[in-house]
C-alpha cells in the first residue's frame, strides 16, 4: 500500500542500535561492540538459561517421574506416561480445574477487552482533564496480580462488605459473593475485568494511529458514527485487538493470585475457584506430587501454545495490517 515505507538503511548491516555507530570505523570495533551487546545481555541470558530454560527441561523430565519433592532427585522413579494418563483418565479435579479456567477465560477476557476498548474510545477525545482519567483507569492495572488487591476484593465482596452495603441502599439483599460457590468465580472475573487498564492504554495508542482522513472520507460518504466504528475503527484497530486478545487470553489462563488469596489456597468454596494453576500448585506443593504437577504444567503449556497458534491462523481472516500486504 501507499503507506509502506522504504526500508530504513540504518536498520540493516551492523545490527547496532544507534545509527551513528555506523560511522565509527572498523569492523573490529563493531565486532567488539557486538560482544559487548551480549555481555550486557548476559544477566538476562544467564537468567533465561538458568532460571527458565533449565528448570523447564527439568520439569519435562520430572513429568515422567513420581518426584515428590522430599525424595532426593537421584532416587526418583521413571513412570513413563503414567502422570499424563492419570490426568486424562482418572483425575476429576483436573477436569474440573480445566472447566473452571476455561469458563473464567471465556467470560472474563472478552468482557475485559470490551471494557478496555469502550473506555479507550471515550478517552480518545480531547476533553479537559482526559489525562487524569487515563491515569485513573490505568491505576488498577498497576496493582496487577497483587495480593493486597485480592484481599481488598475479598473484603469488598463479603457478606458485610462494601458492595453489599451499597446494594442495601437500594434495598437489595446482597449475597456473600466470595463465600458462595455459585458466585466466587464470578467475583474473580469482575476483578480481572476491572483491571482493564493495560489493554486500554494499548487500545488508546492504536486509536491515535488511525488516520483522521479515513473518518473524514467515511463522513463524506455519509457514514454515521456507528458505521465509522465498524468500518474504519475496528479494521484499523484489528492488529491491536489481536495483540490484546492473545496477551489477555494467556493472562486469563494463568490467573492465580486472586484465586489463591480468595480461597486461602484451597480453590474453595467447593472448588469453585480451582483455577488450573492453583490446582497445579496444590498438587505440587501441598500434596507433594511434583512429578504429576510437572505433567500438568506441560499439558498447560501445550494447550496455551495450541490456542495461540489457533489465534494466529485465524488472524489472517480478520486482522488487517495497513503497512503491507504480505503479512
Amino acid at each position: 500500500m501507499a503507506l509502506t515505507t522504504a526500508p530504513d538503511p540504518t536498520r540493516r548491516g551492523t545490527g547496532s542500535v544507534r545509527p551513528d555507530a555506523n560511522r565509527r570505523g572498523t569492523g573490529r570495533i563493531r565486532h567488539g561492540e557486538g560482544l559487548a551487546g551480549y555481555v550486557f545481555l548476559s544477566p538476562w541470558l544467564v537468567g533465561l538459561m538458568g532460571i527458565t530454560a533449565l528448570p523447564m527441561l527439568l520439569s519435562l523430565y520430572l513429568s515422567f517421574t513420581n518426584y515428590d519433592i522430599l525424595t532426593p532427585l537421584s532416587e526418583v522413579e521413571w513412570v513413563g506416561l503414567a502422570n499424563y494418563e492419570r490426568m486424562f483418565t482418572s483425575d476429576p479435579s483436573w477436569w474440573h480445574s480445566v472447566r473452571v479456567t476455561l469458563s473464567f477465560a471465556l467470560i472474563a477476557v472478552p468482557l475485559k477487552l470490551a471494557a478496555a476498548l469502550g473506555v479507550a474510545l471515550l478517552l480518545n477525545r480531547a476533553w479537559r482533564g482526559v489525562g487524569l482519567f487515563r491515569g485513573l483507569f490505568y491505576l488498577p492495572s498497576l496493582l496487577g496480580g497483587s495480593v493486597a488487591l485480592a484481599i481488598v476484593w475479598v473484603n469488598m465482596f463479603n457478606r458485610d462488605g462494601a458492595f453489599n452495603s451499597f446494594l442495601a441502599l437500594f434495598g437489595i439483599q446482597g449475597k456473600p459473593w466470595v463465600n458462595d460457590p455459585d458466585w466466587a468465580l464470578e467475583t474473580l472475573m469482575v476483578l480481572a475485568i476491572w483491571q482493564f487498564g493495560a489493554p486500554m492504554v494499548i487500545f488508546l495508542a492504536g486509536l491515535k494511529q488511525v488516520p483522521t482522513e479515513l473518518y473524514e472520507a467515511a463522513a463524506v460518504d455519509g457514514a454515521g458514527k456507528f458505521r465509522q466504528f465498524v468500518n474504519v475503527t475496528l479494521p484499523m484497530l484489528s492488529p491491536v485487538i489481536f495483540f490484546n486478545l492473545v496477551l489477555e487470553t494467556i493472562n486469563g489462563f494463568q490467573g492465580f493470585t486472586a484465586a489463591f488469596v480468595l480461597s486461602n489456597g484451597t480453590g474453595g468454596p467447593v472448588d469453585s475457584t480451582l483455577m488450573y494453576t492453583l490446582n497445579l500448585y496444590i498438587t505440587g506443593f501441598t500434596n507433594l506430587e511434583m512429578g504429576y504437577a510437572s505433567a500438568m504444567a506441560w499439558v498447560f503449556l501445550i494447550a496455551i501454545a495450541i490456542i495461540t497458534v489457533i489465534f494466529f491462523s485465524t488472524g489472517r481472516f480478520w486482522v488487517h495490517y495497513s503497512d503491507g500486504e504480505d503479512r
Partner: protein, 446 residues
C-alpha cells in the same frame, strides 16, 4: 568523530588513545563484572553450615504466632548459653503456607535441621524418608523419653521408626462463649452431653441470643474423628479408611439437621470458619457461640476476645478423645549436624528451664515431671483453664489411634469439600458422603 583509531597494545602516548583505551578497559571490567557477579552471588548463597568461627549453626523452622516465636527464641538462646558453640538460624511463619515452604526448602536442598511438624504431615514426611529415625538416639539415651507418657511417644512412630518427638500434648476442646451464654441465662454446656443434646443446646442459644449456637463441625476432621471413635470406628485402620459411606452419611445428616434447626451459622459463615486460622475462629469473632479447636489453643483464643471463654470436651463419650501429640520436633534425615539437632530437641523437651519458658504454648509439656511443675507455676488464666480441662479429660482418654497415614492432608481437604458441598445444599448428605469416600480411597491409594 575518531578517525579510525587503531587500538594497539602500545603504551598510551597521547590523549587520542586515552578515550578508546579507557573504554576498552571499562568494557573488559564490565565483562568481568557481569559474568562473575551471578557466580559470586551463587557462591555466597551456598554459605556453609560450619561457620568459620568454629561454631555450629543449627537451622530450625516452626509455625506459630508472635508469642510462640518469643518463647521459642528464648529457649533456644538458653541452649546457646549452655552450649556456646552452637548457634541457631531461627525461621518461623504463620501456619498457612508453612508446609509449602518446608517442602520447597527441602526441594531446594536447603532443609532446616530441625522442623516442627504435626500429625497431618508426619507420615507424609516419614514415609518419604525425610525424617531422621530417632529410635537409636532413644536407645542410646541421648534422647530421654523416660518421663513421656507411652501413648504420646507412640504417636510419633511411623513404620516402626520414631519420626518425631512430641513437643507437647493436647486434645480436642470445644470452646464456648461463657459471657454470652450466662448473660442470657442459658445453661453452660458440659462434657458428656450427646451430639443431639449439643445441637439442641445450640438451637436454644441461637433462638435466645441471636448468635448461632455452634459452628458446623461437619467439615472438621478432628470432630469427625472423635465421633467415629465413639461409634466404634476410626479414621484409619491400617492403610485403609476406618469408616464407610454409611458412617459419613450419618455424620453429614447430623449436621444437616443442625443447620435446618438453626443451630449453626449460614453456609458462607461456616465456610469462613472452615477456612480461617485460630485467631479468627467464629467464637472470638462473635459469629458463633462455640468453636471446635484444641484445648491448648485457649490462650491464643482468649487474646482475641474480651468475652469470657469456657472449654469442654467434644460432645459424646469423652473416651473418644485421646492424648495427642499437638506437634512434633523432627530432624531432617540429611542434616549434617544430626547429633546436635537431636540434643537440641532433647533439651527443648527435658530441660527444666527450657520447658518452663515454653509453658503450654505447644500443648502440655511431654515430660510428665515438668508438666506438673509448669501446671503449678502458671499464672495465665486461659492456660490454667486448658491445663485443668486436659488433666480432667486425661482420666477418660481412650487409646491413641494410629498416626494418620500418607494422604491424610488430602483426606482433610476432601472432607471440607464434601461437607461444604452438602452444606451449600448442592448435594444430599448421602451423595456428599459417597463423593468423599471415593476421593479418599483415591487419595490414600496414590
Amino acid at each position: 568523530m575518531h578517525p579510525a583509531t587503531h587500538p594497539t597494545a602500545s603504551a598510551p602516548d597521547g590523549r587520542t588513545y586515552r578515550t578508546p583505551l579507557l573504554r576498552r578497559r571499562l568494557l573488559r571490567g564490565l565483562v568481568a563484572a557481569v559474568v562473575t557477579l551471578p557466580l559470586v552471588g551463587a557462591a555466597a548463597a551456598c554459605g556453609d553450615d560450619a561457620a568459620s568461627d568454629g561454631k555450629t549453626t543449627i537451622s530450625i523452622f516452626w509455625w506459630g504466632g508472635e508469642a510462640r516465636a518469643q518463647l521459642t527464641e528464648q529457649a533456644l538462646d538458653l541452649y546457646t548459653q549452655k552450649n556456646p558453640d552452637v548457634v541457631f538460624e531461627k525461621v518461623w511463619q504463620a501456619n498457612q503456607g508453612y508446609f509449602d515452604k518446608l517442602a520447597t526448602l527441602t526441594a531446594g536442598g536447603n532443609p532446616p535441621d530441625i522442623f516442627q511438624i504435626d500429625d497431618n504431615f508426619l507420615t507424609e514426611y516419614a514415609a518419604r524418608n525425610a525424617t531422621l529415625d530417632l529410635k537409636p538416639y532413644q536407645e542410646s539415651g541421648d534422647l530421654d523419653t523416660s518421663k513421656f507418657p507411652p501413648s504420646l511417644l507412640q504417636y510419633g512412630v511411623v513404620d516402626g521408626k520414631l519420626a518425631g518427638l512430641a513437643a507437647g500434648e493436647n486434645t480436642q476442646g470445644l470452646v464456648y462463649n461463657k459471657t454470652l451464654v450466662t448473660e442470657n441465662g442459658l445453661p453452660e454446656p458440659t462434657t458428656g452431653m450427646s451430639w443431639e443434646e449439643h445441637i439442641a443446646w445450640a438451637e436454644q442459644v441461637s433462638k435466645k441470643t441471636g448468635v448461632p449456637g455452634t459452628m458446623d463441625a461437619s467439615a472438621i476432621d478432628k470432630a469427625f474423628w472423635v465421633w467415629l471413635r465413639q461409634q466404634g470406628k476410626d479414621l484409619y485402620s491400617g492403610n485403609e479408611l476406618g469408616f464407610t459411606v454409611a458412617d459419613v452419611t450419618r455424620w453429614f445428616e447430623l449436621w444437616k439437621d443442625a443447620r435446618d434447626r438453626g443451630a449453626t451459622p449460614t453456609p458462607d459463615v461456616i465456610h469462613e470458619g472452615n477456612a480461617t486460622d485460630i485467631t479468627k475462629q467464629l467464637v472470638v469473632t462473635g459469629k458463633a457461640a462455640t468453636s471446635w479447636v484444641w484445648v491448648n489453643q485457649m490462650p491464643e483464643l482468649k487474646k482475641n476476645t474480651s468475652d469470657e471463654l469456657g472449654v469442654i470436651a467434644y460432645p459424646g463419650d469423652p473416651s473418644g478423645q485421646w492424648a495427642r501429640a499437638s506437634m512434633y520436633w523432627s530432624v531432617f534425615r540429611g542434616s549434617k549436624n544430626a547429633d546436635i539437632a537431636v540434643d537440641v530437641i532433647n533439651f527443648l523437651a527435658n530441660d527444666a528451664d527450657a520447658v518452663k519458658l515454653l509453658g503450654t504454648d505447644r500443648g502440655l509439656p511431654s515430660n510428665l515431671d515438668l508438666r506438673r511443675v509448669v501446671s503449678d507455676d502458671t499464672t495465665d488464666e486461659a492456660m490454667k483453664q486448658s491445663i485443668a480441662v486436659e488433666t480432667e479429660l486425661a482420666k477418660t482418654f481412650g487409646e491413641a489411634p494410629q498416626v494418620p497415614i500418607k494422604g491424610h492432608s488430602k483426606v482433610r481437604a476432601e472432607l471440607i469439600k464434601a461437607a461444604e458441598n452438602a452444606l451449600y445444599g448442592r448435594v444430599t448428605p448421602a451423595e456428599a458422603a459417597a463423593q468423599f469416600v471415593e476421593a479418599c480411597t483415591a487419595a490414600i491409594a496414590s
